[in-house]
Symmetry: C2
Subunit: 328 residues, 2 copies
């Protein structure tokens, strides 16, 4: 079996990782062998390779945090699972690989007829989008929300989730060429970022108040969003695509009572009840399986192409997610 | 009578303002004439002159927001006030003047035997310090709080208020030469700011958690404080002494759940009940009158010296407050 493995971390993420052939381990009691069908490269995976993420697995490690597999062999004593069943990979298993061995207990079965390339992105980005629209500001139908990096994975789901809830979205991207990729997603207003963003937002919304802003960029872009929210509004940061700290002017913070908070899905998982997690995942699985929500895929790579795949994911100039789809 | 008046706003605050002699207006029914005893120049006053503050009075205007006066003449129909009574000037009256005319109704009498130079600073800085230690984090005796600009007016009151409540304070200043001025104030730890602030704080506190940080500086200094607070901690900004936006790293915001909020005393006044305001001022007056809290005074100027006084207040290199104390 093939695994994308790294022994060290460093500033150029594709330099640390390489595809290695390892012997397939014998299955212990209760274990199953999974053929991995698809696994995404998320920004958090890139930050894990560079060492900038909030949790770092011990080295050496297999890259990839989420993904979808198919049961291909049952170990002794496994019941309730059949060969051929599509399952969600346990989080953090090392999903950039041709195969993985997992304990059968606790594996979440997924619809066999749904697209595994869409399902493989379900645990990180869609819950992030759904929860950021729930946890900070009480939004009602017709309310406005603004986000930047709208052409990102989370950004795309957020447009769709906002629409599903009857919210109006203002979707900001960093370059003109990215506008096209968000324009087809059903958002209400799509704009390119800039220091005058608040003026263009005001024109587009007719001055309607915006109480929630979602920031994945940092730097001056955070303050551009802070300029757009109404008095008492909240800016939620969940990413650092600019590599810079969030900037927010004291004029926004002090005189307009804008606050800056953070969202991290790992912390939500740590604190949320099993019921809340089950409900959220159930909703997301259903929406993906029925095609109600989906993410744009920029390109697919085999595990053997891991260096090119990571380099593509780390580049800001793509439209859509980079997937690892092992060749059979 | 002499007034410090400005007709325009601009980047160099002392250029806009000048001392002018105006005729003393005749008292209308219910009015009193006040001899102004003392009035401070606060950072918010400097920002009002440069046009950067959150509320700007219409032009032309007399400078000065708070101060203390003594009743020197009663208009017709005034009862319950005597000539010689020390009173708090109504907020925003234009306190940088030799005299002011005020409606007798609603004037707050102050102890005649207390130092007017201490009383004149009571409405802005002490409530700011008291409220920032109350409104954001529930602090118990023995808990730590960290602040920068600890040698400022608010900073000095905050050290004293923290001590009064049994809180431990870490007091950060921007230059070595300012350390001496905070060392006599009774704070627990006094440090000069820097990128390694969190390491020195950890050493000084033995790693005790700090849940509240108070920032009047902005720029990288905000993130230095964010580095010092525990997971879930709050950084409260109330000033922009660096002239830069607050910087906070997504690592602090996202991975450590640090949030950035703002405090503005004007908003508190707008929203707080009359009872809450009365209670707060009553406490502050008592503490100042009995010498329990006080502020360092850097220098005193006559109204005729307003340009020098404002220039001194706008300079970062002073230790203590600049006061206008009209000559008699």
């Amino acid at each position: 079996m093939l695994q994308a493995k790294y022994q060290k971390r460093g500033p150029v993420p594709q330099e640390s990782i390489e595809a290695v052939t390892v012997e397939q381990p014998a299955l212990k009691e209760g274990e199953v062998l999974l053929e991995i069908l698809a696994a995404p490269i998320n920004p958090s995976d890139v930050l894990t390779l560079t060492g900038e993420y909030g949790i770092l697995p011990p080295l050496p490690a297999v890259g990839g945090n989420e993904g979808v597999g198919r049961v291909s062999e049952l170990g002794a004593g496994v019941s309730g699972l059949e060969v051929g069943q599509t399952v969600l990979l346990p989080i953090g298993i090392g999903s950039w690989a041709s195969h993985a061995v997992a304990n059968a207990k606790g594996l979440v079965p997924l619809p066999n007829d749904a697209d595994p390339r869409q399902l493989c992105m379900m645990t990180v980005n869609p819950p992030t989008a759904v929860l950021m629209l729930q946890q900070f500001v009480n939004l009602n139908e017709g309310d406005w929300v603004i986000q930047n990096a709208a052409n990102s994975g989370v950004g795309g789901y957020l447009i769709q989730e906002a629409k599903r809830r009857g919210l109006k979205s203002i979707n900001v991207v960093r370059r003109e060429s990215a506008l096209a990729s968000v324009e087809g997603q059903g958002g209400d207003v799509n704009l390119v970022d800039g220091p005058d963003l608040h003026k263009r937002v005001r024109e587009a919304t007719g001055g309607a108040p915006v109480h929630l802003a979602i920031d994945a960029v940092g730097g001056e872009a955070t303050n551009h969003l802070a300029n757009c929210v109404a008095e008492g509004g909240v800016v939620v940061n969940y990413g650092m695509m600019s590599g810079e700290p969030c900037h927010v002017s004291p004029a926004n913070i002090v005189f307009r009572d804008v606050s800056l908070k953070g969202f991290w899905l790992s912390r939500w998982f740590k604190n949320a009840s099993k019921e809340a997690q089950g409900k959220l995942f159930g909703d997301v699985i259903k929406q993906i399986a029925t095609g109600q929500i989906k993410s744009t895929i920029a390109a697919e790579y085999d595990v053997s192409q891991i260096k090119e795949a990571v380099a593509a994911a780390a580049s800001g100039e793509r439209n859509g997610k980079i997937l690892i789809v092992p060749k059979r």
